[in-house]
Symmetry: C2
Subunit: 143 residues, 2 copies
DNA sequence: CTATGTGCAAAATGTTTGCAGACGA
DNA sequence: TCGTCTGCAAACATTTTGCACATAG
C-alpha cells in the first residue's frame, strides 16, 4: 500500500517525502473522514514541525492522483476520504461524525436521473443526514 | 406569495423590512441557486446601500422559517434555493451553473439506504456533476 | 547539484459579529 | 416610543500563496 503511493508519486514527478506518506497513511487508516485540521492535529505528535499548509498542498496532490476524494457535508470545511469508490455518506446531526454507506446500489437511481436530464452526468455525491446509533442511545437514556 | 413571507416573518416576531422581502423575492424569482454574493450583486442596483452582512443575516432567518434550503455543491461558498422541496441538483463542471433535477423519484433509493444503516435518516442531499447542454454544444463546435 | 518540497507568515476568501444610528410596529 | 434591523468595519475560520531554507533524487 505504502509502496503503491510511493511509486504513484514518483511516476507523476512528485517527490516522496515523509510528510506526504504520513498524510496519505493517516487518511487511509481512518474511516472518520477527517478535515485538513483533523489530519494536522493527528500528525502533530509525530511531525511536530509540519504545517497546515503542507497538509493542504499534499491533499491537492493526492486529489490529482485520485488517491482521495473530497466531501462537502455542509460544514464550513472540507473532509477527505482515501476510499475513492463512489459511495454515499451519512452525517450525524448530533455529534457531527460522518460514516460511509457501503453496499447500497445507486446504479438504478443514477440511471433514472441521467435519463431525465440534458446534462451529461459524470459523477455524483449522495449525502444523508440523521442520528447515529450512539446519539440515538444517548437521546433515549437521558442522564 | 409576498404576503405569505410577510406574515410568516411577523408570526415569528421578525420585522418585515424591504431588504428581507427583496432578498426572499430575489431567491424565489430565480432558478440559478445564487450564493450570498450573487444575491448581493443582483440587489445592488436596487438597494445600493444594502450590505452583504444583511444578506447573510436574512438568509439565516429564511432558513429558520424553512423558506430556503442550503446547497453545498462543492464550491467554497454556499448556494441557496427558495424551492424547499427535496430535489437533486446538477452542477456543470464547465460553467459552474447549478440546475434542479425535478421529477426523479428517490423514495426507493432512500428507502434502501435507510434499511441498510443503523442511522435514523432525517434528510438527504443528492448532487450530480456533469456538463450542461450549452457547454456540450460549445465543446462540440470549437471556435 | 538542482529542482522540488517544507514551514512560516501573510494574503485571500467567505462568513459572522459588535455596535451606533435608522426604522418598523 | 421601543425594540429590532441595517450597514459598516472588524473579527473569524478556512484555505491559498510567496518565499527562504531544507531535502529528495
Amino acid at each position: 500500500m505504502e509502496f503503491c503511493v510511493t511509486s504513484l508519486l514518483r511516476d507523476k514527478g512528485f517527490k516522496v517525502t515523509p510528510q506526504r506518506l504520513a498524510i496519505y497513511n493517516a487518511l487511509a487508516a481512518t474511516k472518520a473522514h477527517p478535515s485538513a485540521e483533523m489530519i494536522y492535529n493527528e500528525l502533530q505528535p509525530i511531525y511536530p514541525t509540519m504545517s497546515l499548509a503542507t497538509v493542504y498542498k499534499t491533499i491537492e496532490i493526492l486529489k490529482e492522483l485520485d488517491l482521495v476524494q473530497v466531501l462537502n457535508v455542509g460544514e464550513d470545511s472540507f473532509r477527505y476520504d482515501a476510499d475513492t469508490t463512489n459511495h454515499p455518506h451519512v452525517r450525524c446531526m448530533c455529534c457531527g461524525r460522518v460514516d460511509d454507506l457501503h453496499g447500497v446500489d445507486a446504479a438504478d437511481f443514477v440511471g433514472k436521473v441521467a435519463a431525465q436530464t440534458d446534462y451529461t452526468i459524470t459523477g455524483q455525491q449522495f449525502y444523508f443526514y440523521g442520528t447515529c446509533p450512539e446519539c440515538q442511545r444517548k437521546a433515549s437514556t437521558p442522564s
